[in-house]
Symmetry: C2
Subunit: 334 residues, 2 copies
DNA sequence: ATGAAAGCGCTAACAA
DNA sequence: TTGTTAGCGCTTTCAT
């Protein structure tokens, strides 16, 4: 069933009547091969459809021209970054390898494990998305996107989470809301902390007290946001508006609201964060805070390439956030 | 600058005072290791943060528990598939490795090259997205999504492109359009051919002639669709509606229309195909044909896993398409 | 200009 | 139970 086993360098060598060493030289464009030999070997390569095994090659050469993007899971956030990185890689000559575990929020420390698994052999450098265990000591250059610690240690790309959260909260307040709930993100991520800080700052500035009973942790994922959302909206003195720390949990909040018989935005205003494409698809379309995710992916990739090339650069890039008005927020009905 | 070089099995062995073979046994859970040894080695592994190199391991063992998804580029279509595959991989125990070249539509034969590069070593099986050169003879099991040849050779997952195209065309006709343009996809893809067939079929059924001057090739990408779109809309007898063979080119058609001073849908109706999230973000939101991309990704992954496990299964999965009404189509103004 | 041989980090027989 | 010995497919000195 398995049919033809891969054609390997040895096959090419035998067919062309040369040694594997010579084939290797041809494949890698090394000097010291006669024109005639080169031509013949190249013909055999084309004919047999030979391509060097990335695994074997990288084991020996420690330079692969492949860049890694390590994510816990392929979901809207990471795939937007991927699109950005993909468009930026075009001009660099590198190829891209995105690696993810089984999903299910991947266990703690996944970033370190994936990195050791791939670095030193397969990849020349890595972008790690939302890592929590950040170690500076890795064999290869690493750039973090939206990490645990904020701008320390690793070179980092993120967006202005604090300002964005202020924007979101101010929007709700401007609409007339006073009882505003906050559904936070993953406690281990800097972005989640900054978004909560921004929320509290804006409330404070407006002279509004924060009811701690209306502050919950949603964990950035629909499944983990569901329970807290139910508790929040099930209260007798439930909020008239909820700021969810990312779009996925905001969408979940809307789903729970509908399930409890409410209408968004009439009975409840909801605002998210990220502006992943899915936010526009929700019904109603979700008002949210835009993070330039594709740009962030592209910048992370450029930063990584510069790091590999040994170019010194500012080690922290913070991109701006902005309010995106759609249909999930309205003045409170009272 | 590179700091600590990766910790390898030899380091663990030396620290624990055993041979690398023993460490290997511990890492891979093989029998024949004393409890005390196992504990000690495990401690050292944890302490040093050791993780086996995927490259080295796979070179030797030819079983990696990693599944590959090979794409030409990370764009909305492939990333939707990725999301689906990612959610399906959770329960299987496999990890996911998505590989892409530099973008720029990757040269012809990329699928074969990527496959030889990774198969035989790094991955136990692969999903190839929109391949054009389909070869049955690869070292590992392969599933194709939306391939060149249609349901021959390779196990395949696709959607009902023909029926979807009929749906799209009928929608336009039902709105009262008679001069309908068609902006086709990549000629080397079966899906593009079927979508054109569906278009012609629906026109024929409605007794409408197809003006060949209004049929162009857009190539599925914004850049390649731009020129043909300009030609189509620049004509004196331009169409009142355009069916673009995928969302990305439909969005480009709308952009060109606006640039030429038209309003969508007042002056021109546009319908797309795919229903990638981006279609909902366009202005106006794009009416389109839904392909269940995430499901397709999930099904492709399940099919691949069954193939690896040697389970026989239907080798071709065709999922249904459906019309998604948004705001880019209206009756012709006349 | 070419090939022989060593070895990258790991696993799998086989011996001890 | 453990260690020794071969490689996996490739690149890279170093002879020839």
């Amino acid at each position: 069933m398995d049919s033809t086993p891969r054609v390997k360098m040895e096959d090419v060598a035998r067919t062309a009547g040369v040694s594997v060493a010579t084939v290797s030289k041809v494949v890698n464009g090394r000097y010291g091969v006669a024109q005639a030999t080169l031509t013949r070997v190249q013909e055999v390569i084309d004919e047999l459809g030979y391509e060097a095994s990335l695994g074997a090659r990288s084991l020996r050469s420690h330079r692969t021209n492949v860049l890694g993007i390590l994510v816990a899971e392929f979901e809207p956030f990471s795939t937007e970054l991927l699109k950005g990185a993909s468009s930026a890689v075009g001009s660099t000559g590198y190829e891209l390898l995105a690696y993810s575990g089984g999903g299910r929020g991947a266990d703690v420390g996944w970033e370190r494990r994936y990195l050791s698994r791939l670095s030193g052999t397969l990849i020349d450098g890595a972008i790690i998305v939302t890592p929590t265990v950040v170690e500076a000591n890795t064999g290869v250059p690493v750039v973090a996107v939206d990490p645990h610690t904020g701008p320390t240690g690793l070179p980092t790309v993120d967006s202005d989470n604090f300002a964005g959260a202020v924007l979101a909260t101010e929007h709700l307040i401007g609409l007339g809301h006073r009882r505003i709930g906050f559904l936070g993100g993953r406690l281990d991520l800097e972005s989640a902390r900054l978004r909560e800080d921004g929320f509290r700052k804006a409330m404070d500035t407006a002279g509004l007290p924060v009811d701690e009973a209306l502050v919950a942790v949603g964990g950035y994922r629909p499944e983990t946001a569901d329970g807290p959302a139910r508790v929040l909206l099930g209260r007798a003195d439930r909020p008239t508006a909820v700021f969810a720390a990312n779009d996925l949990s905001a969408i979940q909040v809307m789903a729970v609201a509908v399930e409890l018989g409410m209408t968004v935005p009439d009975d409840l205003s909801v605002i998210g964060f990220d502006n992943v494409p899915e936010s526009a698809l929700a019904s109603p379309p979700l008002t949210t805070i835009n993070q330039p995710l594709q740009e962030m992916g592209a910048e992370a990739l450029r930063l990584l390439v510069d790091l590999i090339d040994g170019k010194e650069r500012s080690t922290h890039l913070r991109l701006p956030t902005e309010l995106v008005l759609r249909a999930s927020c309205a003045p409170p009905r009272h």
